[in-house]
Symmetry: C2
Subunit: 184 residues, 2 copies
Amino acid sequence: MLEIAVLGLLNESPMHGYELRKRLASLLGAFRAFSYGSLYPTLRRLSEAGWISEEAPIEASAGVAPRARRKRVYRLTADGKEHLAELLAEVGPDAFDNEGFGARLAFFAQTRSDIRLQVLEGRRRRVEEQRDGMKSALARAGERLDRYTRELHEHGLESVDREVRWLTELIEHERSDARRGTEK
Amino acid sequence: MLEIAVLGLLNESPMHGYELRKRLASLLGAFRAFSYGSLYPTLRRLSEAGWISEEAPIEASAGVAPRARRKRVYRLTADGKEHLAELLAEVGPDAFDNEGFGARLAFFAQTRSDIRLQVLEGRRRRVEEQRDGMKSALARAGERLDRYTRELHEHGLESVDREVRWLTELIEHERSDARRGTEK
DNA sequence: TTCGTCATGTAATGGGTTACATGATTAC
DNA sequence: GTAATCATGTAACCCATTACATGACGAA
């Protein structure tokens, strides 16, 4: 999750950790922020794996030892680019849960069109299942539930219902794009 | 979170762990399930704290030693009832995030009316802040965003917007209930 | 010169999941 | 008699947060 987000952002442009965190927050819509306590260790790990390179700040030459250890700029390596492409193309179960889907959608512009469609459809299937489960649970227990619990469930149901419709629109859009691409 | 959910459910009726987990899943609308790996240790902890009591299955008297260690039924103690009331009345920041609010709303029927109003209003304030943040972020970056990221943000914005309106309805309902209660 | 914010990091902790292990009970 | 599901539990792990610590830089 953090991994895919970091690699995806660094694919757009090299950055240092602090900046990365801000872009992360705005990208993921403030619903996920990630603290430095997880970001920096992740950068370390990705660097050790060879997926990103770490451009240390310029060491001053003379013996002044300014020890200005600032702005370590990270950039995606060729291996990292490849790894990111693999991650984005993984359409396993993780790609359809809230987090995984959000991360993938955020980098859809960097994703192959056929994969985009698979992700969208898988996500829709998942959300539909959730919706159906909620719907039947509500139908079964609806009368016995107190006002607040029912209200909570109904609002939740409407939310997933809206998401299904939204996904359907995205899928249709994606399909018509694909058609336009092949027919001529 | 698990603590409040477990205590809240046990306040409705005594139950054993397995059953508790199922009720938890349906109560929290399948968006949170909790595995046994967290449920049983929690039951142990709550039991040690004296908030719930553990009714071990009946030991057979004769020397047959049936070691039937099944269905440990848990029930809320007087201390536990008190503790639950305190938890539900805590209107700190935790009460307004997704998890905390969901847990509290699920047990609103067991919550004092004035606390209900505080929780609803705090939650609304929180979601409004989120909405405003998203709105201005979208206004600032909207044009530069690629189609998918924008779509994701817009859908997110609509969702929080809907939640604000929903909360407003709940609050008004709550207020009119309170009026009906005092005016005569 | 002091305050805000930029910038990087670590250690302790937390709250959970996964995978595993065991066995009783029920339905077929 | 065997499969499903009821029922309880543990150990290893994971991914993150919190709190802390440090210090540079720009603006008032």
